[in-house]
Homo-oligomer: 410 residues x 2
Amino acid sequence: MTLKVGVIGGGQLARMMIPAAINLGLDIRVLAETEGMSAALAASEVGDYRDLDTVLAFAETVDVVTFDHEHVPQPVLRALVERGVEVHPGPDALQCAQDKIDMRARLTELGLPVPAWAAVETEDELQQFIDAHGGAAVVKTARGGYDGKGVRVVRAAHEATDWFTALAEDARGGALLAEELVDFSRELAQLVARRPSGDIAAWPVVETLQRDGVCVEVIAPAPAFAPAADEHTDAGVSTVEASGTAAARHGRHLASPASADLVERAEQLGRAIAEGLGVTGVLAVEIFEARDGRLLVNELAMRPHNSGHFSIDGSTTSQFEQHLRAVLDLPLGDTSPFAPWSVMVNILGGPQDGPLDSRYGAALAAEPTAKIHNYGKDPRPGRKVGHVTVTGDRLDDVLQRARAAAAHFA
Amino acid sequence: MTLKVGVIGGGQLARMMIPAAINLGLDIRVLAETEGMSAALAASEVGDYRDLDTVLAFAETVDVVTFDHEHVPQPVLRALVERGVEVHPGPDALQCAQDKIDMRARLTELGLPVPAWAAVETEDELQQFIDAHGGAAVVKTARGGYDGKGVRVVRAAHEATDWFTALAEDARGGALLAEELVDFSRELAQLVARRPSGDIAAWPVVETLQRDGVCVEVIAPAPAFAPAADEHTDAGVSTVEASGTAAARHGRHLASPASADLVERAEQLGRAIAEGLGVTGVLAVEIFEARDGRLLVNELAMRPHNSGHFSIDGSTTSQFEQHLRAVLDLPLGDTSPFAPWSVMVNILGGPQDGPLDSRYGAALAAEPTAKIHNYGKDPRPGRKVGHVTVTGDRLDDVLQRARAAAAHFA
């Protein structure tokens, strides 16, 4: 009679669901892509998530199917639902996490704030969009992008010629997404979780720092912030230069959390999207805080998300526990923070001369308050192989300790 | 190159090491007694821990061997060490957790405070001890007792006749442990962890509440306490009557933690035992706080312990993470609490009409701040099948929420 959750995909998000499942006494089973993945400990099956028979056989062993990623094809998702399998999030919601043009269209229908956008099928259409939006555009492939891949800032349509050529050669056809280059002061992320029966729980909005399109640091909650006049932004690609640090940006703004108004607006945005799209499980909304104060939706993820890893060590209910509760339609947990501040720093690449744990002697001795998370992946330049979380009362101190701990794994 | 920890025994203590191992990216392997135990997810082997070949084969797959329990026979432990296996805690230390007479003798040699005691081989010797100690004694079997089993309060030697008869029939012979009936006001527990290289980390001393010899509740840190004049104590068996509650005992003492002096004396006692006995890994020292203020050692456990379960949700470093770090001789983590108070309430027996998770709908809805831990064991009267932890700023509130959450599983 033990509740059984099936997770499709064996990456670190599935891995980090395992401790939450163990604590709650849930049976967690993972359909992994290959042997030896991050979530191998719970990988009861290894197989192709694009193969309906494989996924159906896996689904028959569990009470609910959920995901480590958003790549399961729609025909497979819909066949599961037709056969009565509980799938959370469901196909309609996932469609908007799989296709950025569909996501922009749905959010626009719902009247939610997004950057100006258009689906462009030709270079001419893209050039028109560029000309109408200040001489630049962010161009994105509708499908398959992540961590900055499939995203390009262009000032002339020919800079996307290769992508149009690829589209023309793709039997499915389609379009590219063109978006205005938002003049944003920083990036935020709003995490919420929604049960199939409708209840929603939200964590306080966090600030995320990207570098080359990859999340490097998360501050929870988002601190108060007044954009510096000389700050460089390059919307849609990276918030700060590779040489920059959040400390330099924040300067005198570290001491207090963001205004209640910002927190409330971000939460309402997260709730509106979760309800509007019928998301079940955890939803992460990546948000631009524009210089004019507007909050604009950047990307969506319908699963636990890098911006919520802080919650494992910093929140009464982690995003992984909450996701399991939500997809099982169990009551959601309290999202209060354990401490005034939590900072999460990603370990990107990892040491190139050995596994992460070869640095434990030095790292754990130097930073006894740091919570080290090691995804069990081989180090490789740029790869997310782990993260560090530190919690505490003063943001400058917490930032310093978290960065110092992560630096041991460079 | 991943660090590999082998745990002998597949119970809930091994189970609760798994999340800590996953977070730190350690490879955890469990030698379980049978299929389907609490730690089944990591049970790479099922076999008899008393069989040297089984244990040796298991040990060859890991970097260090540690334990879910203290029952591995000394010849097996010593054979492992002779073959160069890292075993933590080691055989000499474990001897004192396996045999209560040896424990009392070693602590006495070290000059550490214990109740008056004697090893008694006959009823005459026991009667002499009773007569010399106020007309009562706590009699314990030297080996094999737990959760109140193998412990009896007697006022005449014939009340232990059956145990003497059993001893006489045991080829190994031996003695019973007789101890004075300590006039204690409450029971405490001091948790420490020690690395093979010597470093020790201590958590603040906690108060434990036993009922019929079984831990039912832990308050971390131990609150300030002035014994009530009319309090009933029955040393060594239970702190309060089955109908009693800690709230009734504490009355006006809930608001503040115990004095710095008490905390310091308890920590020094824990450190002295860990060093004196050469314990590696987590050591739990069960302590009587006598009415005259003395701290007397009751029992020792050389592994994570029920009194430290609060640390999973209430401490920067949990006892399970710390145990893994300690047995691998890695630097120990910070033991600061997340909140002023943590209360852990055991789920004993569990619902007799279904599994624990059949109550999740009601329990999680009513107590969104409670952290539920379900050991995946079948409910059975009196069995430890899970626990609940709640943290917060006010002890009365935290106690109320933790008890209310646990009550859903009665």
